[in-house]
Each structure stands twice: as C-alpha cells, then as structure tokens.
Amino acid sequence: MNSLIDAKPAHDASAVIDTRGLEKRFGRVRALDGLDLSVSAGEVHGFLGPNGAGKSTTIRVLLGLARASGGSATVFGRNPWDDAVELHKRIAYVPGDVNLWPNLSGGEAIDLISRLRGGADDKSAYAKRKARLIEVFQFDPSKRGRAYSKGNRQKVALIAAFASPAELFILDEPTSGLDPLMEAVFNREIRRASADGATVLLSSHILSEVEQLCDRVSIIRAGRTVDSGTLAELRHLTRTEISFAQDTLTDADLARIPGSHDLSLAGGRIRFTVDSHQVAAVLPALAELDVQGLTVAPPSLEDLFLRHYGDKLDDAVAGEAEARTPRRRAARAAAQQR
C-alpha cells in the first residue's frame, strides 16, 4: 500500500485483521477517515457504529471489493486487494443487504456459494452440515429468490457462510431481519464456529447480541475508531449509578462522598454517578452514612453506546470531560474536529 501515508508501526503479526489509519473516499465523501481496527486470532470482535459510520465500507475494503484510498489494511497479514482470491479461501462473508438471484432457489444459491468456496468438495460432510443448518434455521430451500422474505434471504447467506469451514467470518449485520428465535440459533452457530477456532468480525446494531457474543468491540464513528477494548474495559470507563433512600441525610453528609457526579434527589431517593473504577472508594463513605436501600447499577451498554453515537448526548457529557481519561477525551476531540 502507500508507504508515505503508512508512517505507522509495522503490522501486528498475530492479528487476523489489522487496519492502520485506513481511509476511503467516495468523491468528496470521506467514508473512512483514519480507521484503526485490530482483531486477533480466535476472538469474536464486535464492530459497532451509528448508521453511515463506515462499517460496511470497512468490510468491503477487508474483502478486496473496494480499494482503500489511504492507510493500510491487512487480513491474515496480506493485502486484501492484491491477494483477494487467496484470502477468500479462508473467509466466509455475510453481506449487510442480501440479494439473491431471482430465478435460483435458496438451496441452489447455498450450494453455489459453498462450491465456489471449496467447502462442498467433501460432499458427505458438506451435505450433513447443510442439512443441519437448514433444519436449525427452519429454512425452505426450494423457493426461488424473489419469493423469500428479508429474513429468509438473510438465512441463505448465513447457511452458506456456516456450511463450509472458514478461518475468518466477516458478518455485516447478519441478524438484521431475523426473528428472536433465529437470532438465538445464530448465536449458537457463532459460538460453535468460535469454538472451532475461527475468528469473527461482527458488525451489529443489536447490543444484546454484542454483549452475548463478543470478546472485544470497536466502536467507530464518522469513519474513525472512537473506542476499542473488551466490554469490561469499556464499561470501566463509564459511570456507575448509585442510589439510596434519603432518610435524614443532609447536604453536608452527602458532600462527604468522594468523586460523586450528577447528584440529584427524586422520589425520596438520592442518585449520583461515580466513575466505575472509583466505586470501591465510595463504598466506605456510604457505610459510614449508614444508607438504606442501596442500589449500585453498572453502566448499561446502551448508555455506553448512546454516548458514542448521539451528538446531543455527546455534547451533554462533554461538560464533565475532566472526569474522563485522556484517551477518551482525545478520541472525542478527534471526532468533534471533523
């Protein structure tokens, strides 16, 4: 790739997917604007971001369907544009918006994709896997492309992806259009693939899915990575909410609680938030005050994501920026500069 732009350190050899400062322009639109993404072998990596953030574009670059305009990207240490065919032998892909051939049945489409991937070479093993998947996804393979509902079109791509072994699964919103039962089936299949040692990149808007499946997540916005880490790490960076009954406590009492933010009184209960890593420091003070009806609510993922996604929320929390770690502040400042 362009070595002038790629002034960053060499790629991490152990990473299955590694992008550094990845850029993609469509005319004047900067779909990707310096995206860093690293997925190590064997992990299930959540890939999150609001609509239009650049998830599908990143995925298309990783598959060699689109060419990066700057920065670098490697998959299994190789350039996805130059080595597309070699890489595709190891990759299973589910597009975000599955369209099928109108005059091919779903079963034919699954067979075709599997044969192209070489996964159908061992006929009996393939037939068994396919039969099992058709069964668990409750799929009718003999309808023609146009007769399928959105969820059923999605199933074609999913079954084709899981029916042949792959080292890397790249899934772009794979459960969009699936009903909750099928989502559960999908989760089981991901766990199965992961247990077989596969690496998974999973773009998603469904937080419960991410929470259940992903070891690590990357959150992107406007073509840049704004946060990345395990869910525990990310949670750690947001505030925990603490509340208890007011009873006879005075303002002076409350002032003795260290590191509290957003203190409020509503419905006879005191509420405030603390940085998650300071929860332990707050507890002795609460014990001293002998508070009643104590609840400690860990930050919900929704809070975490809304903070990254929405402009409004983002501005609202910007006022308390001192409390944030430098890393997050830098990330948000970068996002706001755009």
Binding site: R60, P102, E108, L112, L116
Partner: protein
C-alpha cells in the same frame, strides 16, 4: 389532480435526460435521413429506379416498407417511417415497464401504494404521462420532417403516425408488465411484441401486390396485424389519411382496460404468470461463476436464437421466390450493389446475405445482454456474493465472455441452420446450406466487437453499460443496415461494425474487414480485462 400531478412530476424528473435523448434522437434521425435521402435521390428518375428495384426485391420491402409513388416526400416516408415507429415502440415499452413493473419489483411501488394515492394511480399517471410523451414525440418528428420536406400537412401525419404507434406500444408495455414478475421479463416480452410487429408488417409488405406502374405496393393482410403497418397506411405525403390511426387508439384503449381489470384483482408485486418452486439442491453444472452466468443467461439466449432462426427461415423461404421473380438485369444488379451489402452473385445469395446482417444484429444484441447481465449482477449485489468467494474479478469477466461468445455462435448457427435447410426444403440446391453458414460466419466478428467493446465500457464506465450498449447497437444497425438504403455518406456508414462484415458471395470474398474486427475485439477484450481487474466492485 394534485396527487396525479405529484406522480406525473416524479416521472418527468426521473426520465428527463433519458427521454430527451430518445425524443431528440428520433427527431434528429428524421431530419438527418430526410436531407440525406434528398441529397442522394434528388431526381425522380433515380427514385423510380430504386423503387422498381425494391418492388422486385422483397428483402428491401421487408426492411423498409411499401412504396407509395416516386414523389420525394413519399419516398422519404417509405424509407424511414418503419424504423422510426420501431424506435418509438421500444421507447414506449421501456417507459411503461420502468414506471410500473420495475417499481413494483423493487418495492418502490409499495411506498407509493401505502400513501393515500390509490392502488391504480401509478398506472393512471403512467398512462397520462406516456400519452403526453408521445404527443411531444409526434410534434418533434413532425417538426423534423417539416424542416426537411417543407410539407407541413404530410409531416404532421407522420408525426401522428409515430405518436399513434407509440401509444399503441405503450399499451403493450403496460400489459406485459402485468404478465411478468420481473421488469427484465416484462421488457423482454414487450420488446418481442414490438419486434414481431416490425416483422409482421415486413412479411405483409414483402408479400404485397405491386401496382402496374411498379412504384406502389399494396401490402398483404399481415401488415394489418401491426401498429407499424397501420402507421404506414396513413400514406403520408400522399393520401394523408388518419383513419388507420384509430386502430392504434383502439389497441391502446383495450390494453389499458385489461390492465386496470387485472390490477384490480392482483396483489402488489404479484404477476399473472406466477413463479414456480425451484430445486432444493443445485445441479452439478451450477458450481462456478461460468455455470451461474450460463444459468442466468440461457433463457435470453434461447429467445435470441429463436429470433435468429426466424430471420434465417425468412431468408431460406423467400430466396427462391426472389430468384424467380427477378431476371438477371445488369443495371438492376448494379443498383443492388449500392443499396444492400453484397454486390455480386445471384439475387438469392444477396438476399440471404442481406438478411444475415439482421441475424448478426440479433447476435450482437444477445452478446451485449450478456455484458449487461454482469452490470445488473453488480448493481443488485449478487456479484458481491460471488466475488467474496475465491473467484477473481478477471475470472468472473472471462466466464461471462465465454457465455457471450457461445451465445453469438448459437444465434448465428440457428439462423444458418434455419436458412439452409428451409431453402433446401423449398427445392433450392444443397449449396444454400453452405452459403447460409458462410453468411452467418461473416457476422461473427461484428458481434464479437459488440461483446468486447461493451465489456470495456463495463470496465471503465460501469454506470453507462446498459445505456451505451443499446445506443451502440441502435446506431450500428441504423448506419450499417439501413445507411445504404437512405443514402448516408460512406464515412457515416463506416462507423458501424456491420458495414465491415465480410460479404461472402461468389469466390472473391474480402474477409479483411472481419479480420480487422476480430483484432479490435481481442484488443478491447484485453483492455476490458485489465479495467475490470483494476476497478472495485460498485454498489447500487
């Protein structure tokens, strides 16, 4: 009214560029060919010669129409009207399908259908819009002819005849949109009806009864089966009668009435010819991108092969009749040399080779549809499913190339087989079979040029693939097949690949044009491969 107004405005906005090109193209064609005919056939003696020749030579009548005297303007009408009406027909069927079936197929109709607009209002809007578009087309054609011929009354008859045929085919397009589930299918069916209308009047004209002056022909009843034939019967610049155009109105009204009845009884998105269930597992042949390309294209290829075979049949059946009708007249032969590709040889040979130019056009049409399929695969996102597997873009392109070449060979071969064996069946010598295959082989290079050049367009300007593909074919056909008849200058005719196709008649066939085109096709194919390898896969 306001809702109809919204839908109408929406249609105009979507179509404006496309329609300007169609309408101005047809109008300019009218103007251009009028002046070109006047330059070439300025004196009435040369027109009389050509007409006598045409009357004696049904292949000209088949392609052009029936002559109505040697007057300059009537001669222009004879030369050009059927082609204008053919174009108007295609413009209208595409328009009708684009605003009805295509909208339903891609789910956009549901967006409109869920608003307070009635379920039928998109159709109503399309009818109103289509009629208005045809009136504009008629006006432009009338103006073009008025400038060229200085005969306003006759020119308006031509304009109305064009608009009338257009409106009749608008009804055909709307009707076929009801029958087929996909816009591709509906376009194919409607275009087949338009082509059939052209061929029917061609047969009627070729079998027509010449008058004793040999300058007029009364067509046989076949011509009355075709809206294009009805337009011809207005006898513009002569009798100037608008009565036959009532048939256009009646056909359109009947089709549209049926459309409304059908629409009241079916679901949005459904069709009269329902899709069947498919196989649960793929056949062994569907195991690669080549198998897929063939699977996607073969129904279309079969359709074009039938077209090729029909033209071949025409050549075979009529060639005997023609050689009997015309004695060997040296002056006549010389005139033939200038009008039809293929100067020497017997009239039967000339006739076969002239008809095979049309088979070549059909083969080229089939080839460019293969390339267009690649573009459609890209736009609908199904190409992505293939290219995300270990199939390179180059391999993908080459597989479609292979299908394109096979398609061309099949279309040409079906023409040759039909022509050869039908002429032997009518009692001609077995040599006709060889003649037919040679005439078909001569068309191979031009069709390959279309395949490769459009693939190059697909590599460089993918969004233009479909538009430019049909434009190239239309221009090439008009300049190459009809250019000589309407007296276009040599350099204009040379733009068309069909002009350069070898004419294998007699012993001294010049194959150099074919060799050159083969070279061009190979170079364009290589450039296309490089371009497709280098470019990224687009999305809708």
């Amino acid at each position: 009214m306001s809702r109809l107004g919204v839908l109408l405005r929406h249609r105009v906005r979507r179509d404006r560029l496309q329609l300007i090109i169609w309408i101005l193209g047809i109008g300019l064609l009218a103007l251009f060919s009028t002046s070109s005919i006047q330059d070439t056939f300025g004196d009435s003696a040369s027109r009389a010669t050509v007409l006598r020749l045409a009357v004696a030579n049904p292949s000209i009548l088949l392609l052009r129409g029936t002559p109505d005297g040697a007057g300059l303007n009537a001669f222009v009408f004879f030369e050009i009207f059927t082609f204008l009406a053919l174009l108007a027909g295609l413009m209208n069927t595409f328009l009708a399908v684009r605003h009805t079936r295509a909208e339903e197929e891609f789910g956009r109709a549901e967006l409109v259908g869920s608003t307070p607009a009635a379920r039928t209002s998109p159709t109503v809007a399309t009818v109103v819009y289509g009629v208005l578009v045809n009136l504009v087309l008629g006006l432009v054609v009338a103006l073009g002819f008025t400038v060229g011929t200085k005969d306003a009354a006759g020119s308006f008859v031509v304009g109305l005849a064009t608009a009338g045929a257009g409106i009749a085919f608008l009804g055909v397009g709307l009707l076929s949109a009801q029958f087929m589930r996909t816009s591709r299918g509906a376009n194919g069916l409607a275009a087949a009806v338009v082509t059939a209308a052209y061929v029917f009047r061609g047969i009627g004209d070729a079998l027509g009864t010449p008058w004793s002056d040999r300058l007029h022909v009364t067509p046989a009843w076949w011509s009355w089966l075709s809206p294009i034939g009805w337009g011809q019967r207005t006898q513009a610049y002569g009798a100037n009668t608008l009565l036959p155009l009532l048939l256009d109105g009646a056909l359109a009204a009947a089709s549209i009435a049926i459309v409304f009845v059908l629409q009241a009884h079916r679901d949005s998105g459904a069709s009269l010819l329902p899709g069947r269930a498919g196989r649960a597992t793929a056949r062994r042949t569907l195991s690669g991108s080549l198998g897929l390309a063939w699977r996607l294209q073969w129904p279309t290829i079969v359709g074009w092969c039938v077209g090729g075979a029909l033209f071949g049949l025409l050549a075979g059946v009529l060639s005997k009749a023609i050689s009997e009708a015309v004695g060997v007249d040296a002056a006549l032969q010389r005139t033939v040399a200038n009008l039809l590709p293929g100067g020497h040889g017997t009239l039967a040979q000339i006739f076969i080779s002239a008809i095979f130019v049309m088979v070549g056009v059909i083969a080229a049409a089939c080839a460019i549809q293969v390339v267009m399929r690649m573009r459609q695969e890209e736009v609908t996102g199904t190409a992505e499913l293939i290219l995300a597997t270990p199939v390179s873009r180059l391999r993908w392109l080459l597989d479609y190339f292979a299908v394109g070449v096979v398609a061309i060979v099949l279309v040409l071969a079906s023409g040759a087989v039909a022509s050869g064996f039908s002429s032997v069946a009518t009692g001609e010598s077995a040599a006709r079979i060889g003649d037919s295959f040679e005439a078909a082989a001569a068309q191979l290079p031009a069709a390959l040029v279309y395949l490769a050049v459009l693939a190059l367009v697909f590599g460089i300007l993918p969004a233009w693939t479909i538009g430019l593909g049909w434009a190239f074919l239309g221009i090439g056909t008009f300049f190459g097949v009809f250019g000589g008849l309407i007296g276009l200058p040599e350099w204009v005719r040379n733009i068309s690949p069909f002009t350069h196709s070898p004419v294998p008649i007699g012993t001294s066939t010049d194959w150099s044009g074919g060799v050159w085109m083969l070279g061009i096709a190979i170079v364009a194919g290589i450039l296309a491969s490089v371009a497709v390898r280098r470019r990224e896969l687009g999305t809708a």
